[in-house]
Symmetry: C2
Subunit: 339 residues, 2 copies
DNA sequence: CTGAAAGCGCTAACAT
DNA sequence: ATGTTAGCGCTTTCAG
């Protein structure tokens, strides 16, 4: 591997000039800089990451913390982050917790303390007070995506509003008996997004003067499979059958559509279904949903963390929430109910 | 941040003893080691990653290269890698190419040259000669998952055999008119897995003396959406209708099932469908498939690269292919054809 | 505008 | 078994 000395020798300057020319470009005569750049290019010189990090204190590396990538939302956010960081010359170090408490502890108490990171992005993570404190002690810029409970510059849509909007869409289509599937999340992850969405549902129903009895709610985690099972429960149960279902996320909604079809219901003739997220499969199922552009959320998060990292004045750490765009995408799974 | 000197002072030893006690443990009196460990633990000391990397040449960091995470197979492999590396105290640096040739070039010519990695795992990537050469020059252990063309210790199932097995399953069920959907892949990724699977299909058909006319093949990329469209073509086309479909992957198979249902066909009464991969959705669709345990492939790849990295004798770099397990999972989407 | 020199925080010979 | 010392390859004052 060619080092800075060879470049210096080739360009006929000292190593400090090479460093300056390549890193800042200022305070270097244009002609010198060009000579250095040419030499570096020709020799294929790339500064050693660890050496320059040790000397400068900058790591050019952002850590991403998330609980498994098994949900489409999370891997979409990750993709957005990866692409943006790469564009800016930053590495992305990925930490996931395969539901192992020990691994999770290690990440916070070992990996993050190795001082390899300039900043941290967390995706749909509920952090314990202990973890939050750990993160603070590191004095690293941090920002969280997907969820709304963190005290460190959360970046998230207002899940309550989102759920209210979805429910109101159904109400506006004349539906009066509306079921909800969702509400379940693992401890330590997802920032009570399920709870927020359930609350949004309740609020909208109440505001419209509609009842939301327990019989019209079925708990489910955020997967297609759980949605499938829950919808069968909801639709198979004796008693009042809903004319519409608000699913807490698109995975659940898709599961519900499959379940309904298996039971012989037609969508949307017999039952309307709406979800939240903008899942890649939603188009195939003609699912009406609220798109929240997760990939763009990742890009935004990456850009914000880079801003924080490069901000000379460190006190300016963002602390307010950033409102994120979302958009009702009306497709074929919801329709007007004629009474 | 507490450094090695503070630990040394606290334990009443020199910094080199601290380093030894924590890193290797050998050549240190047991009592001393315990005192050092206790001090380190109490002070919350974690060695600076960059400093120890610079001094030792070990990065404790593996790079993972892959073309976007938009396929289930790839993110499953990644999850397996992440979990295994974490368990062994290694960081995982993620590089993706969002179909941008420039970004891809940067990864090979800038990021990888920063000497931050101990090894590289590539997931379903076709590397150009230029890229392969770049990788060789780095003299890093490398291993590739998903695909079979790399010359560096590929780790993959034999896709031709896999496809033959799938096709033979259909033939064994009396099917004679079998369609194939697949064969399409982006340039630079996927190592011609689509091609291999198509060849496996042709081989099996030929071996059984069955015709495989062009009208029974429909090209598609590896997504549900593409499978949906392709299946509609295949089934809507005038001429002989297949009684069974071999889809090159589960996403395509699921798309085909949805398409068939939309056209009014029943699965498996009217049409049998088989896929490959073991996708998480395959159970929901009762899809018969060949599971290739991608998560375990990731775990295996990680373990192998760690072996290579820690192998004292560097010449022992693995070069032979490792055969991977796969398993026919018969579910409800295929059935015997009664003539 | 450029060069010399002092680290960055640790590991690894080399001594003892 | 432990301490001393010389780097690892850069960045960044500090002088010129």
């Amino acid at each position: 591997m060619v080092g800075i000395e060879e470049v210096a020798a080739d360009a006929g300057v000292s190593i400090s000039t090479v460093s300056r020319a390549l890193n800042r470009g200022d305070q270097v005569a244009k002609s010198t800089r060009e000579r250095v750049e040419e030499a570096a290019e020709r020799l294929g010189y790339v500064p050693s990451g660890v050496a320059s990090s040790l000397a400068s204190g900058r790591m050019r590396n952002i850590g991403v913390l998330m609980p498994e990538m098994d949900r489409w939302f999370r891997s979409s956010v990750l993709a957005g982050i990866a692409s943006t960081l790469g564009k800016h010359g930053y590495d992305l170090t990925l930490y996931t917790f395969a539901s192992s408490a020990e691994q999770r502890r290690d990440v916070f108490h070992k990996f993050l303390r190795r001082q390899r990171l300039d900043g941290v992005i967390t995706i749909s993570m509920d952090m314990s007070p202990d973890e939050t404190q750990e993160l603070s002690r590191l004095r690293l810029p941090a920002i969280s995506v997907g969820g709304s409970n963190s005290r460190r510059a959360p970046l998230s849509v207002d899940d309550v509003s989102l759920a209210r909007l979805a429910t109101e869409h159904l109400i506006a289509l004349n539906h009066r008996v509306i079921g909800h599937i969702g509400g379940l999340g693992d401890a330590g992850i997802n920032c009570d997004v399920p709870g927020d969405r359930q609350r949004g549902f309740s609020q909208a129903m109440e505001a419209a003067g509609l009842p939301a009895p327990a019989s019209l709610f079925e708990p489910a985690e955020f997967t297609i499979e759980a949605g499938l099972r829950a919808a069968k429960q909801l639709l198979g149960r004796p008693g009042q059958r809903p004319t519409a279902i608000f699913a807490a996320c698109d995975e659940i909604a898709i599961g519900a559509i499959i379940a309904a079809q298996q039971l012989g219901y037609r969508i949307p003739e017999d039952i309307s279904v709406i979800g939240i997220d903008g899942h890649e499969l939603s188009e195939i199922y003609a699912l009406t949903t609220i798109d929240q552009f997760p990939r763009r959320q990742g890009e935004l998060a990456a850009n914000l963390i880079l801003e924080d990292v490069t901000a000379s004045d460190r006190s300016s750490a963002r602390t307010e929430e950033t409102a994120l765009p979302y958009e009702l995408a009306v497709r074929g799974s919801t329709r007007l109910l004629h009474d």
